[in-house]
């Protein structure tokens, strides 16, 4: 079995600083070679040997799952990139500002060939500190890009006051308190902060406490995209949990942007780790619980108009 190639997805609005970041990644002397998949091919100069243009072709899957979409062009490109593996060590996908991140993320869950050969390392979202608030008010894509992010670069911080920055951060945290947030100017961030994060590796994501600002949720501004975290201090019953989470994915799938969990199943020495995008759930038993580790079952949902009471009650009912 060959090692899976890490894939970093760069999202963010035009002008937020995505291309600056991309060119920094490519030009720094890290000794890694990247294959870059770009939209708006040829419009912006990208100095790299292997640049492939994509056309954002979203395919609806005919598998009974109404919101299950994949990026057909990405599957085709990655399939072909893997035929020239000697030329690169990692893949970066730059999406357009208007792109919905869900089909991109779902591609890495749904397509078994892509999944066998690559792993989604992190979704990195670059946002403009000055204009993000207005975008969040008028564009659902902007909210989705924040919701899907594992790492957020709050860029162009030199153009706004500290108070404004705090307000923007609060808006971001209300949507996604789990992403790593970095304040930057000219997309200037240490590359370790965005590459090889293993952010889709749940081990890391859920081991970090959510970065709530002052512990307050501010739902006034973004009534639709919210996040919630549920914890049961102990074991749950897989016989109850698995049918429930499946039902949740089917019932609330269209509203659920991302969800993740690490669960302690009764009489199971290993941790059950799951993640989902809309109706697609992926879960399996991973490493054993360590002797000094508390067996805790925890679930995180990020989505629109979540029925928080129903989700809380449903999860509580799965107690072992």
């Amino acid at each position: 079995m060959q090692e899976q190639i890490p894939v970093t997805v760069l999202t963010g609005y035009l002008g937020a600083g995505k291309t600056t970041l991309l060119n920094r990644i490519l030009s720094e002397p890290h000794g890694k070679r990247y294959a870059v998949i770009v939209n708006e091919f040829g419009e912006v100069g990208i100095d790299n040997d292997l640049v492939v243009g994509a056309d954002e072709e979203v395919f609806e899957m005919n598998n009974g799952c109404i919101c299950c979409t994949v990026r057909g062009d990405l599957i085709h490109i990655i399939d072909n990139l893997m035929k020239r593996r000697g030329r690169f060590d990692a893949i970066i996908i730059e999406t357009t500002g208007l792109a919905d991140p869900a089909p991109v993320a779902q591609t890495f869950f749904v397509d078994q060939d892509v999944r066998a050969k690559t792993r989604l390392d992190a979704v990195v979202t670059v946002v403009d500190a000055k204009h993000l608030v207005a975008r969040l008010d008028d564009a659902p894509e902007a909210q989705d890009q924040i919701a899907f992010a594992d790492v957020i670069l709050l860029n162009k911080t030199d153009l706004v006051s500290e108070d404004d920055l705090k307000a923007v951060e609060a808006r971001i945290r209300a949507i996604n308190p789990y992403a790593k947030l970095h304040r930057t100017q000219n997309s200037n961030v240490a590359l370790e902060a965005i590459l090889d994060r293993g952010a889709f590796d749940l081990e890391r994501i859920l081991s970090v406490e959510p970065d709530f600002l002052d512990g307050h949720h501010d739902h006034d501004h973004d009534p639709d995209v919210v996040s919630m975290s549920l914890t049961i201090p102990g074991d749950i019953d897989p016989e109850k949990f698995l049918p429930w989470i499946n039902e949740v994915s089917q019932t609330f799938g269209p509203q659920l942007l991302r969800y993740k969990g690490i669960l302690a199943f009764k009489d199971e020495p290993r941790r059950f780790v799951l993640q989902g995008v809309h109706m697609i759930i992926d879960g399996d038993l991973q490493r054993p619980w360590k002797a000094d580790e508390k067996r805790v079952s925890r679930l995180v949902f990020i989505g629109r108009d979540l029925d928080q009471a129903a989700l809380t009650a449903g999860f509580e009912a799965c107690k072992a």
């Binding site: 243009g53 395919f59 598998n63 085709h76 593996r85 060939d113």
Partner: protein
């Protein structure tokens, strides 16, 4: 299964090409292999690798046998389509923008190439037809008779007569993402492979649907046995053969499973040009030949820790060329075995 597997020593030469083998094709007794890094290598069973020619500096995305059998048609990363013969390499078409996504060779030197939704048909170095498909085109095929081209795309397939550019295309709708496309040898059926681990077929006379499902993986390799009696496919741990002898195709009939191996997936299939024998290539590098009459099997290539990515018979059926995704290739002499 009653047939016995006779392990024969690997017959014929084996060599390393250093890059993923996209396609193999025989011109007479000479086997050509196109690689993803842009080379076309030539080899014979007697002397092995005879030479390699870098036909595209950027690397190749697609390669298919020319419909006249006398050349390989290749498409590179920069969108240049070339005809590669034993003597020369000539530019015959190009597409701009993204990497080419589909390529097919047609009658009288025609070639169809797609990049994303853009589809063009070329002949004599000129574009004779261009159109925009409803969605990303990942498969193209020319009809066995007449001058008609089919494209597989998101939501189904479309057929055009490139000689009648004003005519409306025939649309064959079926929800989902369609990848490869083939006509049956008699031109009665069109079959696509799908992202959803299935095949979909249409009887062209009445657009009747044929659903062929149950694959654990995508069936990306499709090949017709002699006279189109069976459609052999990859995508499972066996070669799956759908019966097409009947005028309604495989509807209501079960497929035949041959060359079953529980531990490996079939990646390529190639049908012998004269007799009912199917070559099945697996993800562990093994190639098995199966005679359909009695299901007798022989091992043509032993496992080698890389997947078979190309398989092609010579026109007389005496040789089978194979290539792998890690750059190994070889020629199996089948005369004594089949």
């Amino acid at each position: 299964m009653t047939a016995s597997i006779t392990s024969s020593p690997d017959q014929g030469p084996r060599f390393e090409l250093g890059a993923h083998v996209l396609t193999a094709h025989f011109i007479g007794p000479l086997a050509l292999f196109a690689t993803a890094e842009g080379a076309v290598a030539a080899a014979t069973p007697g002397s092995g690798l005879e030479g390699q020619n870098q036909v595209d500096q950027s690397g190749l995305v697609l390669a298919v046998a020319a419909s006249d059998g006398k050349a390989l048609i290749v498409a590179g990363e920069r969108g240049v389509v070339r005809r590669v013969t034993l003597k020369d390499v000539s530019d015959i078409a190009h597409c701009s923008g993204a990497w080419p996504t589909a390529l097919a060779s047609g009658p009288d030197g025609a070639v169809a190439v797609a990049a994303g939704r853009k589809l063009s048909v070329w002949r004599g170095g000129e574009t004779i037809f261009t159109t925009q498909a409803p969605s990303l085109v990942q498969g193209l095929a020319f009809a066995p008779k007449g001058f008609r081209v089919a494209a597989a795309h998101g939501g189904g397939a479309s057929l055009w007569y490139p000689g009648q550019p004003a005519a409306e295309p025939t649309r064959l709708d079926w929800k989902g993402a369609h990848l490869d496309v083939v006509f049956s040898p008699d031109g009665a059926f069109l079959v696509t492979s799908m992202q959803e681990n299935a095949l979909h077929g249409w009887k062209l006379a009445d657009k009747a649907h044929m659903r062929m499902t149950g694959y654990p993986g995508k069936p990306r390799s499709l090949a017709w046995t002699v006279k189109g009696k069976w459609l052999a496919t990859s995508g499972a741990d066996a070669a799956i053969l759908w019966p097409f002898q009947d005028k309604n195709g495989p509807m209501g009939k079960a497929p035949k499973e041959i060359a079953v191996r529980g531990d490996s997936k079939v990646t390529r299939v190639a049908c012998h040009p004269q007799v009912d024998v199917v070559a099945t290539g697996y993800d562990d590098g093994m190639v098995l030949l199966t005679r359909l009459d009695d299901l007798a099997e022989i091992v043509a290539v032993r496992p080698m820790a890389s997947a078979i990515s190309a398989l092609a018979w010579s026109a007389d059926g005496a040789m089978l060329a194979w290539g792998s995704d890690s750059g190994f290739a070889g020629i199996f002499s089948a005369r004594q075995s089949v």
